[in-house]
């Protein structure tokens, strides 16, 4: 499964060919994805077969993942269903250490013979690679958990909801957008269920059932006269939840400044489609921003991506160490800065933490993909850099006694490696509402929802846009702006953080498709925050004429 494939899929209808979908697994009928997978007792037998075969071949450590990965895509535009696709991918991956070196092999032949063969192949590869190995792998200790399980705490399994109901919801939302002035709407629902079984020579047998849901649309309005168009994306978030996310409960709606309605733990797609069309029209005639320094009030639906790029990624230990140098890049947050224990990542208001246990988040699981129980830990405390994200073979480098539990593989045939945990900005400790925060700004911009994003390979310089921008004058919203992007430097930006609203405003948003590694893998991750104020940030005007 590759991010590029998803981008292709999002733009494809039924007239497009089948192949991009098959990178997610075999395309199957909707009933197939409801069938139970392999029995846990059978998985344990197979896992033991793999572990024994690996040990017999000379492995000093082995883990095996037996995974069934299910996806459902529902793709619509305006009044048409363009495609409904279900995919299933089932197989096993065995990872071993032999001669102090990692080896990995995978197969879709999940039989005793097939899995033993993969285990032996992994040991062969480890031994071959050990010839060029310079530092033997050292694993941080992990508890032996025995036979345990975890299930995303969903209320409604989205795969069990009849496809007709889902299609009706999407088409209903599309109709509302069109009634309210949209020229076009592309509306997609994407469901994920990872049924994964993990076992290792450390004595853990972990069965997990992980669910994720993402409804997402883009509304387009066109002014033919001027030859311009504007788009507004949905204010939904990808979530680690079931279909209950689409209940759109009144208590989960937030009346935000600028007459904007935002959503917390459930989402009203039909209502949002109406607002999207209206707001996209307003954007056509909004005032073009005057470039300069502004105090920014960044809404959680926007700030999550800035956190993701400028905190989540630079604090991944494999990047810091240089393993990603040829692709995603390295990090400005080097070990020498961390070792000083005085590196000011941000102002005193800034507390950033990693957490793989937050209910409803995309990264929440019971155990990571190397059998480590998930937890919460601090990354930046009162502005000071205090920790990174590390897995078992990295923990010793930063003096940690145990892994942080953030190892992940996006499929049974991918090798697990360090991936970003949910990384979030802690809400402010003192009572502060969004209205109060905006009330204190003389010249500023309130930015809602993520838009354009770009950051350098060491995570210093970034530029972000959003979906909606409101000018703040003397503590009051003074109308909509357009053509806004802000540019800053990570350390400067987080040190300009003056206020963070309290926990009443704390919400999660996130990414379904965070890409990393070569060959590329994707990962889903959430980021929480409350609305936060950043002083004196450089805003540019992005209008051009061609």
């Amino acid at each position: 499964m590759k991010r590029r494939d998803f981008i292709q899929i999002a733009g494809l209808g039924a007239s497009a060919m089948v192949l991009p979908f098959s990178s997610f697994g075999n395309i199957v009928d909707p009933m197939r994805v409801l069938e139970p997978g392999m029995d846990v007792a059978q998985k344990k037998l197979l896992a033991d077969t793999a572990l024994n075969a690996a040990k017999a071949s000379g492995a000093t450590y082995a883990d095996v993942r037996i995974g069934r990965y299910l996806n459902q895509f529902i793709i619509t535009r305006e009044n048409k269903v363009e495609n409904v696709v279900n995919t299933e991918s089932f197989g096993t991956g065995v990872r071993v250490i032999a001669n102090g070196t990692w080896g990995f092999a995978s197969t879709n032949d999940v039989s005793p013979d097939g899995i033993a063969k993969a285990a032996k192949q992994a040991v062969l590869i480890a031994k071959a690679n050990s010839k060029v190995q310079k530092d033997p792998v050292k694993l941080a200790p992990v508890q032996s958990y025995g036979e345990v399980s975890y299930k995303t705490p969903i209320q409604k399994n989205a795969f069990e909801v009849p496809i007709k109901d889902k299609v009706d919801l999407l088409l209903n939302a599309n109709a509302k957008a069109m009634e309210n002035g949209a020229d076009y709407i592309n509306n997609l629902l994407f469901l994920v269920n990872e049924q994964k079984y993990f076992a290792s020579t450390e004595g853990s047998y972990i069965d997990q059932d992980v669910h994720r849901t993402w409804p997402v649309f883009t509304v387009t309005v066109i002014d033919k006269q001027s030859g311009t168009y504007k788009e507004r994306d949905s204010f939904s978030s990808p979530v680690g939840m079931g279909y209950e996310y689409l209940d759109g409960k009144a208590e989960d709606k937030i009346q935000a400044p600028g007459d904007v309605v935002l959503y917390n733990k459930s989402y009203d797609m039909v209502e949002d489609a109406t607002f999207a069309a209206e707001q996209a029209k307003q954007l056509l005639s909004a005032k073009s921003v005057e470039p300069g320094k502004y105090d920014l009030a960044l809404e959680p639906s926007h700030l999550w991506l800035t956190i993701h790029e400028s905190v989540g990624h630079p604090l991944e230990l494999d990047r810091v160490l240089g393993y990603e140098a040829n692709y995603a890049g390295t990090s400005f947050a080097t070990l020498d800065k961390w070792k000083t224990k005085t590196f000011n990542y941000g102002s005193k208001q800034v507390n950033l933490f990693a957490d793989k246990t937050q209910v409803g988040s995309l990264g929440a699981v019971g155990y990571d993909d190397e059998g480590v129980k998930c937890k919460r830990w601090d990354l930046v405390k009162d502005g000071i850099l205090v920790n990174y994200q590390a897995i078992r073979d990295q923990a010793a480098i930063i003096g940690e006694k145990e892994s942080h539990g953030c190892c992940y593989a996006d499929n049974w045939n991918s090798l697990q490696f360090q991936r970003m945990a949910n990384v979030s900005l802690a809400p402010g400790k003192e009572q502060l509402s969004v209205q109060q925060l905006i009330g204190g700004i003389d010249k500023g911009i309130y930015i809602v929802k993520d838009g354009s994003f770009s950051i350098d390979q060491q995570r210093y310089n970034f530029q972000f846009g959003g979906q909606l921008y409101f000018e703040i004058k003397n503590g009051k919203i003074a109308g909509m702006l357009k053509d806004v992007s802000y540019q800053s430097n990570t350390q400067e930006f987080w040190n300009s953080c003056a206020q963070v609203c309290d926990e009443r405003d704390y919400r999660l948003n996130g990414s379904f498709f965070d890409g990393k590694g070569q060959p590329g893998q994707i990962s889903a991750v959430s980021h929480g925050s409350a609305t936060a104020r950043f002083n004196g940030v450089n805003v540019i005007n992005t209008a051009r004429s061609i």
Binding site: N108, K224, G227, Y323, Q458, Q463, T542, A543
Partner: protein, 438 residues
């Protein structure tokens, strides 16, 4: 099993087609053998191989279609996947945009396969990595690189009598070289259908030289500068623009090629008249598959001729709505260049910046094709015809449309990502801020 010959693929597909009970059926059979090696910190980190064959079947009744895929090829499995696609088709809602499959087409002779690439072994990959790591380690430089090779085939058949087959090989190599003092970084990319053209030692030396030559870069003020863009720098920006040249988006009014008051810019001058860009699947340096995933024949196709937009891409449905011939999305892009080498172009530059590559390019405004991103892995200041010193990286905000209007000169073409792209000298390229990243 992964790579089937034309005859083997045909046999399987004929069997699949024979099971059809629907109004019609399209079957696509694809297989791939791939291998890779990844290294970092001057040592190999991971290596692997993957092999897969997938059969995709699309059955249709009228305008209702269903798709199923399988990777087992016994007779029972083939029949089962056809039945499943047919059941899904019956359940599917009617799609007004569904197009019936094409009858047999005429395809040109493919140039995408090279035997040497199909024969790459794990030993070859390990040696290719060693040839990159060893010279780096000898120069106080750290290498991180990735080599990936693919040997694949694609075949399709339908109930209208169409059969198509192609096999292709490809090898991609990238390496980042960083000086051990952390102040210099160089990068190089190579891709070929034929691995015998790849020399990872030669390519790595360029990245090593850049890493050492870019140490202790100086900051200069952001602003508008004349730039010499290496082909790898401009390829992604241009690719984004080509990807946005769909006729439907332009007709719908949501494209940079939509016009005020309606209509499109097809046939209008968009960029400097010295610019000629076309697709040619039969180019020997950068070939593409001679047919598309839905069986349309790819031919040589002008995209921009003398600065004028000469084609937009029409899928079959949109072409039928507009009563024009479909124009499939190209498999490659050939951007005509000149004869000047990069050294010649530097000599002719009074004041400018040489850019190795851009990184993290993202759309800022699709309407104007405005993109942002940063320079990365060696950026140099040019003064009076000479490289003066390395400079710190810049963030840019620029549109390829504006860029191609500000053309100063075109240099030699280089294959990049399966396309041929020239060195380009562009005036008034917009850099908006400085980055401390190395």
């Amino acid at each position: 099993m992964a790579i089937l010959s034309k005859e083997e693929a045909k046999q399987i597909l004929e069997k699949v087609i024979s099971f059809s009970k629907a109004d019609g059926l399209v079957a696509n059979l694809n297989g791939n053998n791939s291998g890779n090696i990844r290294y970092a910190r001057n040592t190999v980190s991971t290596a692997g191989e993957n092999s897969d064959v997938t059969l995709g079947v699309q059955a249709y009744y009228g305008k209702k279609s269903g798709v199923a895929t399988v990777n087992e090829f016994d007779t029972a499995s083939l029949e089962k996947v056809v039945r499943r696609a047919e059941e899904l088709a019956k359940l599917a809602p009617e799609n007004p945009e569904f197009m019936e499959p094409l009858p047999q087409q005429e395809y040109g002779e493919s140039k995408t396969y090279a035997e040497a690439t199909a024969k790459i072994t794990p030993d070859y990959r390990a040696q290719a990595a060693a040839n990159s790591i060893n010279p780096a380690a000898a120069k106080d430089v750290t290498a991180a690189g990735f080599l990936e090779d693919n040997n694949s085939f694609a075949a399709m058949m339908n109930t209208k009598g169409l059969f198509a087959y192609n096999k292709a090989t490809n090898v991609d190599f990238t390496v980042t070289m960083r000086s051990n003092d952390g102040t210099g970084s160089g990068w190089v990319t190579r891709d070929y259908n034929d691995v015998s053209k790849l020399n990872t030692a030669e390519a790595s030396q360029i990245a090593i030289d850049k890493a050492l030559g870019s140490r202790n870069a100086k900051a200069i003020e952001p602003g508008k500068y004349t730039v010499i863009l290496e082909p790898a720098a401009s390829a992604e920006l241009l690719g984004n623009m080509f990807f946005s040249m769909g006729a439907r988006q332009a007709d719908e009014g949501r494209s940079f090629l939509s016009k005020k008051g309606g209509g499109t810019k097809l046939g209008e001058k968009l960029v400097d008249e010295r610019i000629n860009i076309y697709a040619d699947p039969f180019n020997t340096e950068a070939p593409a598959a001679p047919w598309t995933g839905d069986g349309q024949a790819r031919k040589k196709l002008d995209i921009i001729k003398n600065g004028v937009v000469s084609n937009l891409f029409y899928d079959r449905y949109w072409a039928s709505q507009k009563n024009v011939a479909p124009v499939p999305f190209p498999g490659n892009v050939i951007f005509e260049g000149g004869t000047a080498s990069v050294e010649d172009m530097i000599k002719d530059t009074k004041k400018g910046i040489l850019v190795t590559r851009f990184w993290y390019i993202r759309s800022v405004d699709p309407q104007t094709q405005l993109y942002t991103g940063l320079t990365r892995d060696s950026t140099f200041f040019i003064e009076n015809g000479k490289i003066k010193h390395p400079i710190k990286n810049f963030r840019f905000n620029e549109s390829p449309v504006i860029m191609l209007n500000n053309l100063e000169a075109l240099g030699k073409q280089v294959r990049t990502g399966g396309n041929l792209i020239p060195y380009m000298k562009i005036r008034d390229f917009t850099f908006t801020s400085l980055s401390d990243a190395v």
